[in-house]
Homo-oligomer: 165 residues x 2
């Protein structure tokens, strides 16, 4: 059993070590920030990812998102049921939310958000911000035209050939 | 002033209406879920996005993430300071976090997460999950090999030519 009370599975350590290896190797090679991730199914690697924010000019290109995208492309699906995500560091709220949208079975990570903060990354701060009501966040936001926006969902539910996700 | 107490800016309504128009038009054309987004700078559109989860086989391809990626590519940068994000619906925690990572100046949206829930989307649930301690979430997670994972950040801070983001 681990800190969060979940049972350990065979191969978890080896797959997590591969995510950590990727984090270090790609970072040292100048490919992006110090983060790596692996998506696996039944203990077999489906896709690997590493941080490509600065090299790919994409603030969403965190290791986990890159690995999820690649795994979906490889499996020809937009859902990853039956798959596990291994991350060198605790996923930030963007990547954690992506794990929900991707319907991953479970997550395993090594370093904590506090370790990431010590490395100069905003994960812990963004976790705090996302949990706040919109009006209390440091990122200013406004809501308007709610009725017009909500009316799109009426058309969506009326669309008989919609593909739910 | 709006519900969250932020001042309104010129053109906000027109830009938000374009995000709503995109949400409806692309959804009706079978291009993905009912969401649209626009990134603008100084009232001028830099990039548009719409949901491409099911058509692009990418669970991270929400309208906002697509618009952020395109705006970065167009501006040749991985930060969007000076830019505003307009969304047909309140950004989910994945997209909200991406807005922080992209360093957007502010956000404006129309429909609420509750409207999205009525349309069959998990945004409100994922907001609740992300705010929970890892051990209490419905998505099982484990942490292990923390020291090994954290050691990558030591190498990162020692890398003199690192590109911070």
């Amino acid at each position: 059993m681990t800190e969060t009370g979940q049972p350990l599975f065979r191969d978890d350590e080896a797959l997590l070590r591969e995510a950590i290896r990727l984090a270090r190797a790609r970072m040292l090679a100048g490919r992006g920030g110090p983060f790596g991730a692996v998506v696996a199914r039944g203990g077999i690697i489906v896709a690997k990812g590493w941080n490509r924010v600065t090299t790919g000019l994409d603030p969403s290109a965190h290791a986990e998102i890159v690995a999820i995208r690649r795994a979906c492309r490889r499996l020809g699906t937009f859902h990853l049921e039956g798959c596990v995500l291994y991350s060198s560091c605790e996923p930030c709220p963007m990547c954690l939310s992506a794990a929900y949208w991707a319907r991953l079975d479970r997550l395993t990570w090594a370093a904590s958000r506090e370790d990431a903060a010590a490395g100069g990354f905003d994960d812990a701060r963004i976790y705090r911000e996302v949990a706040l009501p919109a009006g209390e966040r440091s990122l200013p936001s406004t809501q308007m035209l709610r009725e017009e926006g909500a009316s799109v969902f009426v058309d969506w539910l009326a669309k008989s050939d919609r593909v739910q996700y």
